[in-house]
């Protein structure tokens, strides 16, 4: 079943075509990896899906409905969560608060609720959100650091915190932008198992990653981007042997 679909999606920045008529499908329950040389447009595709840029041409649909041109907050509320390539945590705030903000869409009470916090309904919601946040923190192993400021965490834990925050949306689709970047092999192994268990809990995962070992170890399918166009799409073994992919990464000589 198709959860997310890009149909001939294109975006131009002035004269530069960053994403060139890319068609891609993500099936529910799978782990899809997007790889490609630097500057190929991978993060741009994430930004297109999450609504930070509207596509110049083509369509993007989520759960069967078009999401092209919608604002990021609407798309997130619809069940699409993401992490960022350059970590974007709310640094000064605590670990727990970061995840609570992630849980924002799971609540309803706004200004009225803020002023009338003694209402049972408001208190119940706060309790529910707190429980959700702690659950997400436990999933990434950071529950014991709940009250630390986010900026005090070591790099690897900050990446995990971003994932916890994204999970608090209770998303159907989780976009991970280079989640293993800067991690040592031990951390990467932990991450791999974490991503697997996230998928097993019912979340479809779409990730961008440079670490080939990681990608091969975790993906059900791989899509390859080069200069904004998709050049391959299939199971890891197929993609690995694809001459166009090898050429994109290593040049013409290596492909032969």
């Amino acid at each position: 079943m198709s959860l997310l679909m890009l149909e001939n999606t294109t975006i131009r920045f002035g004269g530069l075509v960053a994403v060139n008529s890319v068609s891609l499908e993500i099936h529910e329950g799978e782990i899809l990896a997007l790889i490609g040389p630097n500057g190929a447009g991978k993060s741009t595709i994430f930004n297109l899906i999450t609504g930070i840029y509207p596509p110049t041409e083509g369509n993007i649909s989520f759960k069967g409905k078009s999401i092209a041109g919608l604002s990021p907050s609407v798309i997130a509320a619809g069940g699409v969560a993401r992490t960022f390539q350059n970590i974007r945590l709310f640094g000064e705030q605590t670990v727990l608060d970061n995840v609570l903000i992630g849980a924002h869409t799971r609540g309803n009470w706004d200004l009225t609720g803020a002023l009338l916090q003694f209402l049972p309904s408001v208190r119940r919601e706060e309790g529910r959100l707190l429980e959700l946040a702690i659950h997400c923190l436990s999933q990434v192993g950071l529950a014991r650091k709940a009250y630390e400021p986010a900026c005090s965490l070591p790099y690897g834990e900050q990446r995990r915190l971003e994932i916890a925050r994204a999970l608090a949306i209770e998303p159907a689709l989780l976009l991970l932008d280079e989640p293993a970047a800067g991690m040592n092999p031990h951390e990467k192994q932990t991450l791999l198992e974490m991503v697997r268990s996230i998928r097993d809990s019912g979340v479809t995962v779409f990730l961008v990653e440079h670490d080939m070992k990681f990608v091969m170890g975790i993906s059900d399918r791989i899509a390859v981007l080069d200069y904004g166009s998709k050049i391959a799409d299939g199971r890891p073994e197929e993609v690995r042997a694809n001459p166009a992919v090898i050429e994109a990464y290593l040049g013409k000589g290596a492909a032969q």
């Binding site: 907050s73 960022f84 709310f90 903000i101 919601e125 005090s152």
Partner: protein, 304 residues
């Protein structure tokens, strides 16, 4: 009992206390939009002005009970804020600040030219219809404002505001509708400024559009910067210090703005967090009372 207490405080001290009270209300209002949501409003005096004149005119023309006048002044200010907020809050940092400043100047010029606000002559404000003495009313409003502000900080709404302050793009990606929350934050800030303005007008007995210019906005900003941006206790402390200071430093009143200016620069360069910014006051108090606070675990880890 309360009337007895209020009677026993001499008028001079009472005046200072009321000024502090009004200052606290204004500072808390600005804290919501600037301290919590991170949107610098350099024209907040305009909402104080709108509240002051609305309140004054309501009392003059209708003689409504005071508590209603206060409420309506706040509402009128917040409605104006919501109206101009939609287009303006799309702007980023510096532009937004200047735009609010421009708006405040426009309001000032308009009020200086309208018949109903008595142009440059200003309005004399009669005593409002109230069962309570003015100082008591101010005290009640201050308490309500502090409770409201503290509640906002620790709520889903407040968390959304802080997220917007820290990283708009990340906040939006977490499902927070930036525009809507900014406008709401702006509106509630303006409500408080309007209430403060209304109290100010009735306490002072006379208002003039020129009272609510750029310098007044800077007064409010200085209070929350001194106290620590985003901190409720900080806003209270900053407002108290800066409202009381002119009285105690009367001998150097001509130096006041000089000191303000230098103070702002000094604070930003050496202590951008102000006096209480970045300090979790609740935790501090708990620790003094012997209750072990949550992050004590971290302190122990650090020392290992």
């Amino acid at each position: 009992m309360l009337p007895a207490i209020t009677a026993s405080i001499d008028p001079y001290t009472m005046q200072i206390l009321v000024n502090i009270g009004i200052g606290i209300i204004l500072a808390l209002g600005l804290t919501i939009i600037t301290g919590l949501t991170g949107q610098l409003s350099l024209g907040h005096a305009a909402f104080m002005s709108i509240g002051a004149f609305s309140g004054a005119l309501l009392t003059i023309k209708t003689g409504l009970p005071f508590y209603l006048t206060i409420l309506f002044s706040g509402l009128i200010s917040s409605m104006v804020a919501a109206a101009i907020g939609w287009p303006i809050l799309r702007l980023t940092g510096d532009y937004l600040a200047i735009c609010t400043l421009g708006f405040a100047e426009i309001i000032k010029v308009v009020f200086l030219n309208l018949e109903i606000t008595n142009k440059a002559l200003g309005l004399t404000v009669p005593t409002p219809a109230s069962a309570l003495a003015m100082p008591l009313t101010v005290l009640i409003v201050v308490i309500l404002t502090i409770i409201a502000s503290a509640s906002i900080v620790n709520s889903r709404f407040g968390r959304a505001l802080k997220a917007i302050r820290d990283d708009e793009i990340a906040a939006e990606s977490m499902g927070i509708n930036i525009a809507r929350y900014k406008v709401q934050s702006f509106a509630i800030s303006a409500f408080m400024a309007g209430v403060g303005g209304c109290l100010y007008a009735h306490f002072l007995g006379y208002i003039n559009p020129s009272d609510f210019g750029f310098l007044k906005s800077i007064d409010m900003l200085s209070m929350i910067v001194l106290g620590g941006l985003g901190s409720i206790p900080g806003a209270v402390l900053g407002a108290s210090l800066l409202s009381a200071a002119p009285e105690f430093l009367r001998f150097m009143s001509q130096y006041r703005m000089l000191v303000y200016g230098a103070l702002l620069v000094f604070l930003m360069v050496f202590r951008p967090n102000g006096l209480l910014g970045g300090i979790d006051c609740a935790e501090l108090v708990l620790r003094k009372l012997g209750v072990k606070p949550r992050s004590a675990a971290r302190k122990q880890e650090d020392t290992q």
